[in-house]
């Protein structure tokens, strides 16, 4: 097993990093400091590690870092920060959709992928979009409200 230098474009920043072939994108990202990408089940059930990979929402625990060589990766902090939150993140805060917060970055990523292709989702569409993201504390009620709120605010033009 030999390392290879791969290019990871994360949230608009280019990283050149030497990685072994058996390192998942999840751990490569966390080691680079993107700790908003959470490690949960590591088998594609919980969605805590969700990122956008060339625009598609995926579990980063099931992608090898070498497979993401040259790809565009967006994590939750790539959408917005505490100082300049994304409208989805703000809606999560306003709707009380985060309790322990572990699932939140993945939820936000799935919500972003949904609203990108479907700006006015029904409740069923929202439930379907977050079907791969498990929350074990608030329940899904506030999370669904948050996505609805974000959709309303985005269509009012207060978003991006």
């Amino acid at each position: 097993m030999q390392p290879k230098v791969v290019t990871l474009n994360v949230n608009g920043r280019q990283h050149y990093v030497a990685l072994m072939p058996n390192v998942t994108l999840l751990h490569a990202l966390r080691d680079l400091g993107y700790t908003d990408v959470k490690s949960g089940c590591e088998k594609g059930d919980c969605g805590a590690c969700a990122v956008l990979l060339n625009g598609a929402p995926v579990n980063s625990c099931l992608v090898l870092a070498w497979q993401a060589d040259g790809a565009e990766i967006v994590t939750n902090v790539g959408l917005g920060t505490m100082d300049r939150p994304h409208v989805i993140q703000e809606a999560f805060a306003d709707a009380g959709a985060a309790q322990c917060g572990y699932c939140t970055p993945g939820m936000v990523i799935s919500a972003k992928a949904l609203l990108d292709r479907c700006p006015h989702p029904t409740e069923a569409e929202i439930r379907e979009a977050i079907a791969g993201n498990l929350c074990r504390c608030t329940g899904y009620g506030q999370i669904i409200e948050a996505v609805q709120l974000a959709a309303e605010r985005m269509s009012e033009g207060s978003g991006e």
Binding site: P21, G44, D45, A50, N59, L64, A131
Partner: protein, 288 residues
């Protein structure tokens, strides 16, 4: 932490086949990784070499060719779900794709991976079986086509040989007067492994007489099976309530169910009969 392996990234299909041949049987193709990475992590598979086929252009795309629909093995479940050609010619496949795991998995999981993994509970084999699909298996020796019905062998067992890659799935473009349906029973809506799943397809003449029937059953035997006696019982007959009930009974008889954490053998057998009856009734009304 994943075990150690070498990861090869071919640029072309030919290169990928060379790499697989060179390291067979210790080389395994890697695409979406939604089964393989999990298996590596749990040490259920420990191949020395992984060949990353996720980016190969030769495995992508869905097209029509000589009266067939041809879908690249690297087609993801999400792509299948959004493809207009599949929507037109195989909506039954989209019914299975729609309830496939969850959206995050669907963006990575490929149809080839779903078939090669050989799970009796997999979502795509029942609709592909009722469509009379064949798989294309490529190796250094060339390409061979195998009917999906012969490809599926047992639990985690298929006709795919070491150093072979499933490059495409193809099926005859269904006739206009043919209708199909799929239904999965899971313990929850998303992220559920099937307790059982059923697909049917019926081709009827204008007078309502059945010309061809396909019934495929998942999670009720070591592999996804065709219920042939049930299919044959409907041939040359109008799809009456009695004929459908008899076919459903025969379909349940074809199962070899086991009891497991998701359901008992008896439950599976009974629900197979109910679902086959409902789906046949549904498509009998749809066929024009």
């Amino acid at each position: 932490m994943l075990p150690e392996f070498n990861l090869l990234t071919p640029q072309t299909l030919a290169e990928a086949l060379d790499m697989l041949a060179e390291s067979a049987p210790d080389a395994v193709p890697l695409a979406g990784g939604t089964n393989l990475i999990v298996d590596l992590r749990d040490r259920r598979q420990c191949p020395a070499v992984l060949v990353n086929v996720a980016e190969l252009a030769e495995l992508r795309g869905i097209r029509q060719e000589n009266g067939h629909v041809v879908m690249g093995g690297g087609t993801t479940i999400a792509e299948m779900l959004n493809d207009p050609l599949i929507a037109q010619h195989a909506p039954v496949l989209q019914d299975a794709a729609r309830i496939f795991a969850n959206p995050l998995v669907r963006h990575r999981a490929t149809v080839a991976g779903n078939l090669v993994y050989g799970s009796p509970a997999a979502n795509t084999p029942p609709p592909l079986l009722v469509l009379d699909a064949e798989v294309e298996l490529a190796s250094q020796a060339g390409v061979r086509r195998v009917p999906l019905d012969d490809f599926l062998v047992g639990v985690r067992e298929t006709a795919c040989r070491p150093a072979e890659l499933l490059t495409a799935v193809r099926w005859p473009t269904p006739a206009q007067h043919s209708a199909a349906a799929f239904r999965k029973v899971g313990l929850r809506k998303s992220d559920a492994i099937a307790v059982l799943n059923v697909a049917v397809r019926v081709t009827q003449r204008a007078d309502g007489v059945c010309e061809q029937t396909r019934i495929a059953l998942g999670s009720v035997a070591p592999r996804v099976i065709r219920a042939r006696a049930a299919e044959e019982s409907l041939l040359g007959q109008p799809l009456t309530e009695t004929a459908i009930a008899e076919a459903a009974r025969l379909a349940a008889e074809a199962t070899r169910c086991i009891s497991d954490i998701r359901g008992s053998a008896d439950y599976r057998r009974r629900v197979t009969e109910v679902l086959v009856r409902r789906l046949l009734t549904q498509v009998a009304g749809e066929v024009k």
